[in-house]
Each structure stands twice: as C-alpha cells, then as structure tokens.
C-alpha cells in the first residue's frame, strides 16, 4: 500500500496550503461543524465507518470534513487513525436477533412475524431535488427526554423514530424450522477467529475472512460485481431477499480481570440475508442456501450486495459458472479494498522517470526495419 509521497519540500508545503484553502472554500460562507456532519450527513458517516473498519462517528465525520467530502480519502484517514488505536480485547459477538430495529423488511413472506416495517428509507422518495427544503423552517428544537443524556447517533430514538420491539423473530428461522436451509460452514468467534486486519489475505479464504473483506470493501465495487451476478455473469437463479434489518445492537465485553461481561456501547448495523434455490445438480436435500451481509451503519445497498457475493464466492464447484469474476474469490477479495486499489492506481502519479527511460531505450534500439507484429503465430 502506498501511503505517503515525497517531493520538493517547498512545493509540497505550498500544495498542502492550497488544499487547506480549497477545503475551507469561500471565507464568507460559514464553516460546517463535525456535529452538522454527524447529524445531517449520517449515511456518509456510516459509509466511512464501514469501509474504514472503525465504528467511531466523530472520527468519520472529521475525516469527511478533512477530505473535503472525498469518501475514499476519508476512509483512508479513518484506516490510518485505526492503526494508532490500542486494542484491548475482543467483544462478545453482537446478537443481531436482539437488535433494536428501526427498519425491517422481507421480500419472501408478506406476513412476517413482527411485520414489515419501512422505517427511514429513500426507497419511496420521488428522487426530485427539492429546492424548498433548504428554506423550509425547522420545527422548534425540542430536547427529547429519552435522548437528552446520549449523543444523537447512540440511541435509536435519536433518529426520531420509535424503535421496534426488542427482539424480532428471524425470517430465516421460518425456513430453518421446515428444514429447507442448507447448514453453512461453522464460523469461529473471539480469540480463535481470524482477523483480516492482523494477517494478510491468503487463498483459499475462510468464510470468516471473506465476510470481513466484503464488509470493509468498496461499496461501488461490491455493488457492481453483485449486479454482474444478477445480470447472468455467475448466477442462473433469481436471488430473494430473506430479510433486511437496520437497527442498534449492544456491544459487550468481558474484561479478563472481571470475569463478567459489561456493556461498552451500541452500534448501528445493517444485516441482510439473501435466499437462493440450490443447484439441482448438487442434489442437496435442503432446497435453499443463504448469503449473509453485515455492515456498520445503515447501508442496505452494500449489505445486499455483500450477501449476494458471500453466496457466489462460497464456491460450489462444477456449476460451469466459476469463470465469472463475481464467482472468483481471488478476483473479488483482492480488488474490493478501495484504500489498496486507490494507492496502487494513484502511485502512477509518482516519478517513473527511470522506468520510462528504459522503455524509450528499448524502442530506440529496435531494428530500423521493424514492422508491427500482426499477431500471426
């Protein structure tokens, strides 16, 4: 990964001054605050936290401001900040079944236990840029008694929406109860789990590492490759949305010297389960198989794409579809990280004077009567 670039000291300093000036913009326009970003650009903050692999609302908002709204740059800043943090232990796996949901839908059963709850979504908006929105007066600022003591993003009620009942039955359990689901690979937790941020990605990749890589992968890349599956580049059956849920979970940790678990915080998560009919050729008894997606914050597009890729990368052999990019773990997992991708593509801006000289020398030393190769054997 390319991190920093060297150059003439004075030129670099001037460039840094210029970027600071550009970032501030017109001095007659009021500067935006981190609070404004966390409150009014919440989905952007969610994306930076997810791909930055760090659940820290303030750090993500500061990064967005410092990067002038360039999300990939903000994600880079958060990743860099993350490496400086002291790690003190692994939390107990969060229980998404006990999630305080603010949104939950299923595309496979109309009457799911607990009901379909739209919650905050752009799905039903008209996608018209509303110019009057800027001028509409805000309702008077009332301190919600439930949230007075907590920062706005830390409580579900902070979104101005009352949370759903504490525990919603999982849609997928309905299929499970009927024996229609294939049992997935067992995953391991805590000390025994692999950690993508501590070890290099080596193939073949376990499901643990696959999901970790997808969860911090670039939203655009994950979305585009998942779309390629749907368009026929690797999937020949219609996938279904088993359940999509957005809400808050409690994070618990057991300090070794205490011996009992304590609540250390809450985080917003988007969880998705996709359902697919199994390949008949595999002759499996169950009938359906699932793909899983879990992302920091609210990002349904990413969680759904992740679930599609989780399934396609599970690597059922001999389906005749393995040649497609979205079925190839090495292709997807090695290229979905935007900090890595951006570093390698952008390193081409660095001086390559000597490398290029060698190309020139090669061309100039070619025999004079050289004719272009027609590609004939």
């Amino acid at each position: 990964m390319y991190v920093a670039v060297k150059g003439g000291e004075k030129a670099v300093k001037n460039s840094q001054r210029l970027v600071a000036k550009k970032r501030r913009g017109d001095l007659c326009v009021q500067k935006i605050s981190v609070d404004q970003i966390t409150n009014q650009l919440g989905l952007g903050v969610d994306r930076v936290m997810a791909e930055g692999s760090l659940y820290d609302v303030t750090a993500a908002a500061m990064a967005i401001q410092q990067a002038q709204g360039d999300m990939t740059e903000a994600i880079f800043l958060v990743r860099a900040f993350r490496t400086t943090l002291k790690r003190f232990g692994n939390s107990i796996p969060v229980q998404t079944t006990k999630m305080t949901a603010i949104r939950r839908v299923s595309g496979i059963f109309k009457d799911i236990p607990g009901g379909q709850v739209l919650g905050p979504t752009y799905d039903y908006t008209h996608r018209l840029i509303a110019s009057d929105q800027d001028h509409a007066p805000d309702p008077p600022c009332e301190q919600d008694t439930d949230t007075a003591s907590a920062p706005p993003d830390q409580t579900a009620a902070g979104d101005g929406i009352s949370p759903l009942p504490g525990e919603l039955p999982r849609v997928i359990d309905l299929l499970q109860a009927q024996g229609l689901l294939q049992q997935d690979e067992t995953t391991s937790f805590g000390d025994t789990a692999e950690d993508l941020t501590r070890q290099p990605l080596a193939f073949p990749v376990s499901r643990n590492l696959r999901l970790q890589t997808l969860a911090r992968g670039d939203e655009g890349f994950i979305l585009g490759t998942a779309y390629s599956l749907q368009r026929g580049f690797g999937l020949d059956r219609h996938p279904f949305l088993g359940e999509l849920k957005v809400g808050y979970v409690a994070v618990r940790y057991t300090p070794p010297e205490l011996g009992f678990d304590i609540h250390v915080g809450r985080m917003k998560l988007t969880e998705c389960v996709m359902v697919n009919r199994q390949n008949d050729a595999a002759r499996k008894a169950a009938g359906f198989e699932t793909g899983y997606g879990l992302v920091f914050g609210q990002n349904e597009r990413k969680a759904m794409s992740m679930s599609l890729l989780d399934r396609s990368l599970a690597g059922e052999k001999n389906t005749g579809k393995n040649g497609y990019p979205a079925r190839d773990p090495e292709f997807i997992l090695s290229h979905c990280d935007n900090v890595e991708s951006s570093g390698f593509v952008q390193h081409l801006k660095l001086p390559h004077y000597v490398d290029f000289q060698s190309e020139l020398v090669f061309i100039r030393n070619r025999p004079k009567d050289h004719t272009p190769d027609k590609g004939n054997p």
Binding site: R87, P200, P256
Partner: protein, 192 residues
C-alpha cells in the same frame, strides 16, 4: 503485584526505540532510560521488552512455569496468551541462558511469511564487548564484537544451521540487567 511502566506510552516507546536501534545495529548495546521493577527472576531489560512487545494477541512461551510470579506479572500487564509449545510461540522468554534449547525448536516462519517467526528474549549472565563473538552482516560496517556470559557454545552452531533457511529464521534479543542487544537472523556469528 508489582506495577508496570511509570508511563505506558512514553516508556514503551523509549524501549521500542532502543530495540529498533539494537536490531538495526547488531552488536550495539542499548540501555533504555526508564525505571522498572520486575519480579525476581526477570531482568528489568527483559521485563521492559515484554511489556512493550506483548499484548492480548501475542503468544508467549517461557522457561518459567505459568504460575510463577514473573509470568503472572507479565500476563497481568499485557494480557498475553501463554503456550507450552515452542513452535507456536510468537515470543519466547529464557530467564536462564544455561538452559537454552536448540532455536530450531521454535517457529522460523515460512518463506512467504518470515514475519511469523518466534522472537527469542534471552537473559544472559553478563554482556560486554569483549572479542568473544565476531558479528558480521547487515547493519554492521565491517565487524562487531560481543560477549554474552552463560550461553552454551553449541547454541551458536544450532543457530547457524537454522538460519540457513533464510528468509525464515529466528531473531534474538539478549539482555543483561537493563541493557539489551539484538541478533537478527541476518547476523552471522563466529566464535573467536
């Protein structure tokens, strides 16, 4: 239970800086300017290194029993995991250099990931720059000399054999009292 560093941040950074210096210049004796009280059998230099290098994700092997005050102290301050299997350790502590084992019993890493190797922390009985061991290799301009008291001579033969598998190999940090030196796997050691 004895306390750890006076300042977790500044002391561990000072120790790490000194270790970097010792690793980059084999044969150089570094002495971190910190104060640390360790349990009996643990030299202050070794204690400081362990507090700096270990955390809840590292795996430590030691010639001491896990129930000794020394290991309990290290575990309390770092949260490191302990292993009885030398080849699974990321770090290994020898408090008694007379009982050094063949370094080949530890994990030398692989050609693809030589960084996965075990790093040995060895407490010696004395450390000076007498012309007993001649060091050559990266980080040494021509040659450097060092003398460690209480290391069995066959240890150096075993080390030479094991390091033939370069880039796999074992890096070592040798300590006496609060002074530290390092022998990375690239350093060639000749007994004079």
């Amino acid at each position: 239970m004895l306390k750890g560093f006076d300042s977790e941040v500044f002391d561990s950074q000072a120790v790490f800086r000194n270790l970097l210096l010792a690793m980059a210049n084999p044969g150089t004796i570094a002495a971190p300017d910190i104060h640390l009280s360790c349990p009996d059998r643990l030299a202050p230099g070794a204690g400081a290194l362990l507090l700096t290098l270990l955390d809840f994700e590292t795996v430590l092997w030691s010639d001491l029993d896990p129930e000794t005050p020394e290991i309990k102290w290290v575990h309390f301050h770092t949260g490191t995991r302990l292993t009885p299997a030398p080849d699974r350790a990321g770090f290994a502590l020898f408090t008694d250099s007379e009982k050094l084992m063949d370094p080949g019993r530890f994990n030398p890493g692989t050609a693809a990931s030589p960084d996965l190797s075990t790093t040995l922390v060895i407490q010696t009985r004395g450390l000076d720059q007498d012309q007993k061991l001649r060091l050559t290799g990266p980080g040494i301009e021509k040659e450097a000399f060092i003398h460690y008291a209480g290391i069995p001579p066959e240890f150096w033969e075993n080390r030479a054999i094991m390091n033939q598998a370069y880039p796999a190999g074992i890096d070592m940090i040798l300590v006496h009292a609060s002074r530290i030196t390092a022998l990375p796997r690239t350093t060639k050691v000749a007994v004079c």
